[in-house]
Symmetry: C2
Subunit: 174 residues, 2 copies
């Protein structure tokens, strides 16, 4: 059985709406997803990069993210024909460990938690495919990288790309 | 550069002395490491297996384990010639995430935390070697398994075995 590794933030978990909501509230702005096309918020507002990072130090930040549209149904379907592992760069935000684990158990309870992986450098992942919104993880990845479209990566080229979970379904299940 | 994945409990962290100390205190017994030869505590006292598991639900249990003799020096030495990843089955004890992370930062601060991996099923690990006290992790592991001697595994045969960190040094650095 071939194995698919799947990233969490901006792939399974809809990270941007919450980040924008909190940012707009605290900085009295009205940024939209369109403003984030081609870059991350920390690249758009580099002078407060460190302050933006502090949001993630709140252990609950990752607990109530919305589930990405269709991800539950498609991953459930994929899990009949593929081994599914969830591989998130949680080491970048150690405060997120528990929230990420609980979020997965709540929304993807049909997956085996022995297949959850909290890592940093994803070259450690032994899988045939990696679905991720950060192309840098594909550089040393052994298998096929699949770039999941997020605002920040829309100008990135040179990778297999899926725009949403229906695209993922088509790619793997035809 | 070849890559070595290293387990934590009973390989880097000396788990048994603390487990025995707490058990003996709470159950008014005098078990020693000799009693654990060939089995884990939960196999020696199967009728209280669930109660024993509860010790690990204390988020601090893994925080103050002793560092295994010579592990710091040898891992530091190995890290000059090999990529080192720490791969622990933390998903079996989600309450341990923070303690395990902090323990690694305290005692192995010279390692990059992007190379820490909290997982369950270790077949997800892409490495050339895996040093682990649980031989079951070698079954689907892609590389060479190296069994680190622990009381529970002394009767296990069929694997490359190292008895301590000086043996690890010899295996990799001759």
């Amino acid at each position: 059985m071939k194995r698919i590794a799947i990233d969490m933030d901006e792939v399974m978990a809809d990270f941007i709406p919450k980040q924008l909501k909190i940012y707009n509230r605290d900085y009295n702005e009205n940024l939209t997803i369109d403003d984030l096309k081609g870059k991350k918020l920390r690249e758009l507002r580099p002078h407060i990069k460190e302050e933006l990072r502090k949001y993630f130090l709140d252990p609950t930040f990752f607990r109530d993210l919305e589930v990405m549209k269709d991800s539950q149904e498609v991953i459930k379907e994929l899990s009949k024909s593929y081994e599914i592992f969830i591989t998130t760069a949680a080491m970048e935000v150690p405060a997120s460990f528990t929230a990420k684990y609980e979020w997965l158990k709540e929304h993807f309870g049909f997956l085996n938690d022995m297949n959850f992986v909290f890592c940093g450098d994803k070259s450690i992942i032994h899988a045939d495919y990696l679905i991720d919104d950060n192309a840098r993880h594909f550089n040393r990845f052994m298998g096929q990288g699949i770039l999941f479209t997020a605002p920040h990566n829309i100008n990135v080229t040179g990778y297999v790309r899926v725009n949403n979970w229906q695209d993922v379904r088509k790619y793997f299940l035809g």
